[in-house]
């Protein structure tokens, strides 16, 4: 029998057992739905993560830390080193950067600038008549895109500050708009208890978004010089007064980043690119997608038994038909092929139903999800046509494999025996 005629006859047999075909397909459809959706979530998640990486980090930037000694056994004797360290006692210590390390970085080729990281924990932030709140202060980076509820970045304003809408509310502002232009007092304390008050003018209030959770900018942002000053003051008399926990190195060009990382590593520093820093997001997405795919695969596995069962029953029901076809000279191989194609049809139907429904769900679900997670216009579910094609073709193959045993049974049927059954 020619392939075309076989396909046609297979389709006809399935149409004659509509309910059974549909139910078996639905079982596969569940798997197809889960797989398509997890692929969509993976694609959407990666797209979203890539957006975060692009807007929240500068691809030219490297985050550099001193290479820390293996802490290992804290009681083991350690060699003294000239490098500045913070000793926590108990044998634990943390190496820091000194100005000469910063200079060494500056001397490397391809480096545009080196900025020490000044992250300060303020004693508190407050304004007249309001409560005091602890807060972290960090440098405002113009390269990072932020969503503002009101106002904007400090630009040239030396005493400008950005705070989150949560802090604006806590500090008693009726609305983010009302906060802009107002003054807050940030109080920094030295370890010895000396304090210094920095009056800062609010230039912008940022919206809380999923991004802030990932990038960690939940406190105040001020100009780099201002935070450097706070840092110096906060660490007066400590080993950190003239040293830094980390520094950011800006490469001249994006293409230099990899070589620069190598150079920094060779110098004995621990350098991470923006990609490295964001790698964990991708890893997280991959793990999540893997779990979902696992569920989908499980559903497909279950449906395999459904196909085997359905096709076996079909072979039994159609013993006479098979016997007749074999008696009329249909080859074993062709009989087997007929049943495998029927299985493939079921797989196709299941794949199409499942992934079609997944596409439908993503169209309906995207606005809801984005709203719930306040992601703006980001789509978390992206159904790619290619993945739909792969899912359908894959399920057709799986179905054919599932159909092998029943097909073999059909092809081995003895026509005389089959035609004896009345």
């Amino acid at each position: 029998m020619k392939l075309r005629d076989t396909v046609r006859r297979a389709g006809r047999s399935l149409r004659q057992a509509k309910a059974r075909t549909l139910l078996t397909s639905l079982a596969i459809g569940v798997g197809a739905f889960t797989i398509t959706l997890s692929l969509a979530a993976g694609a959407g998640g990666k797209q979203y993560a890539a957006d975060i990486v692009n807007t929240n980090t500068n691809p030219r930037e490297l985050y550099v830390q001193p290479k820390q000694e293996q802490q290992g056994d804290p009681s083991a004797p350690k060699e003294y080193s000239e490098a500045p360290t913070i000793n926590y006692g108990g044998g634990f210590s943390l190496k820091t950067f000194q100005q000469k390390d910063i200079n060494a970085m500056k001397e490397l080729g391809n480096v545009q600038s080196v900025t020490p990281v000044y992250n300060v924990s303020a004693k508190y932030v407050t304004r007249p008549g309001e409560k005091k709140y602890t807060v972290g202060v960090e440098a405002y980076l113009g390269t990072v895109k932020q969503e503002y509820a009101a106002g904007a970045g400090p630009k040239g304003q030396a005493d400008g500050v950005i705070l989150t809408d949560a802090y604006a509310k806590a500090l008693g502002f009726a609305s983010p708009q009302k906060a802009v232009g107002q003054v807050v007092d940030v109080v920094i304390a030295t370890p010895l208890g000396e304090t210094k008050t920095y009056p800062l003018t609010i230039t912008g209030v940022t919206k809380k978004s999923a991004l802030s959770a990932l990038t960690g900018s939940g406190g105040l942002q001020v100009q780099n010089d201002k935070v450097a000053d706070m840092y110096k003051f906060a660490n007066t008399g400590t080993p950190l007064e003239n040293s830094f926990i980390a520094a950011t190195v800006l490469a001249k060009d994006e293409s230099n980043v990899k070589t620069l990382k190598q150079q920094l590593t060779d110098k004995g520093f621990d350098a991470q690119t923006a990609e490295d820093l964001m790698g964990f997001i991708f890893q997280f997405i991959n793990v999540l997608q893997g779990i979902l795919l696992g569920f989908g695969a499980l559903a497909v596995l279950t449906s395999i038994f459904g196909i085997v069962n359905t096709q076996y029953i079909s072979v039994l029901e159609r013993t006479q038909q098979i016997g007749l076809m074999k008696a009329l000279g249909m080859r074993r191989r062709d009989v087997g092929r007929l049943f495998k194609i029927e299985a493939a049809w079921i797989g196709f139907l299941g794949g199409a139903i499942g992934s079609g429904f997944a596409a439908f769900v993503s169209v309906i679900g995207n606005p809801v999800i984005s709203e719930a997670l306040s992601l703006g216009k980001t789509k978390l579910l992206i159904v790619e046509p290619l993945s739909v094609v792969i899912v359908i073709v894959g399920l057709m193959l799986v179905s054919v494999v599932a159909g092998i045993l029943p097909a073999r049974k059909a092809s081995k049927l003895d026509p005389i025996e089959a035609l004896r059954t009345e």
Partner: protein, 241 residues
């Protein structure tokens, strides 16, 4: 020419062994109409299956067109049946939910006849059995006689060289049965097709050129015009001119 020589068929093994055919010998000329008659269980259907390449008896030869079909590979026997044999089985074996045309189309599809060629052949076959008007009907909606005519259409559609008919009138009333007989004999005479009818009806057998009587798996007698018996060589059966 169909030469059957020393064909024996045993079912089962050892204690359960049952010999359904014992050393069958005869020859059938092309274009003859032959009746294989005998009581129920005598081995008529078994013989028909052996002669048509459906079954493989343990010993003997079935030579058709100089080729021993029992020596052919499975796929070649299948091809042989698809191209040269028309079957009418003891039951209709129609695809009830398929249309009349699709039922007739099946042997053509199996024989890998192209779609275009199929159309003409199906039309001709349905015309021959006077079922053209029912082409688009479902097979299950036909009457018993129409069903048997459809079965004949299916048997002749690929212009076989030999038609095997197992009890073609067994399930029909005498008037309808006669029509079917007319159809079969007419086709046999007009197209020079060898017609082998398995029956236990002596009246139908008498209408054939040759009657081969089977009893307990053995040929008990061969009658008919120009029937030549040569033993131990195959019994020669000639066609009536």
């Amino acid at each position: 020419m169909i030469e059957v020589s020393n064909v024996s068929k045993t079912y089962g093994h050892k204690k359960n062994a049952f010999t359904a055919l014992k050393d069958i010998n005869f020859t059938i000329e092309d274009g003859a109409s032959v009746a294989i008659i005998g009581k129920s269980g005598s081995g008529k259907s078994t013989l028909m299956h052996a002669m048509s390449g459906l079954d493989r008896p343990q010993t003997g030869q079935v030579i058709i067109d100089g080729q021993n079909i029992l020596e052919l590979k499975q796929k070649d026997v299948d091809k042989f049946r698809a191209q040269k044999i028309g079957f009418i089985f003891q039951s209709f074996f129609l695809q009830a939910t398929e249309t009349v045309s699709d039922n007739v189309s099946l042997p053509l599809e199996i024989a890998k006849v192209s779609k275009r060629a199929r159309k003409a052949k199906i039309t001709a076959a349905l015309e021959a059995v006077d079922l053209s008007e029912k082409a688009r009907n479902k097979a299950k909606d036909l009457s018993g006689g129409q069903k048997q005519r459809l079965v004949i259409a299916r048997a002749i559609v690929n212009e076989p060289q030999i038609i095997f008919a197992d009890e073609p009138t067994g399930n029909l009333d005498s008037a309808t049965g006669e029509k079917i007989e007319e159809l079969l004999f007419g086709y046999n005479k007009n197209n020079g097709v060898t017609l082998i009818i398995v029956t236990h009806d002596p009246d139908l057998a008498a209408k054939c050129d040759v009657q081969i009587h089977i009893r307990d798996g053995q040929v008990s007698s061969i009658k008919g015009d120009k029937a030549v018996v040569k033993t131990p060589k195959p019994i020669q059966v000639k066609k009536v001119q």
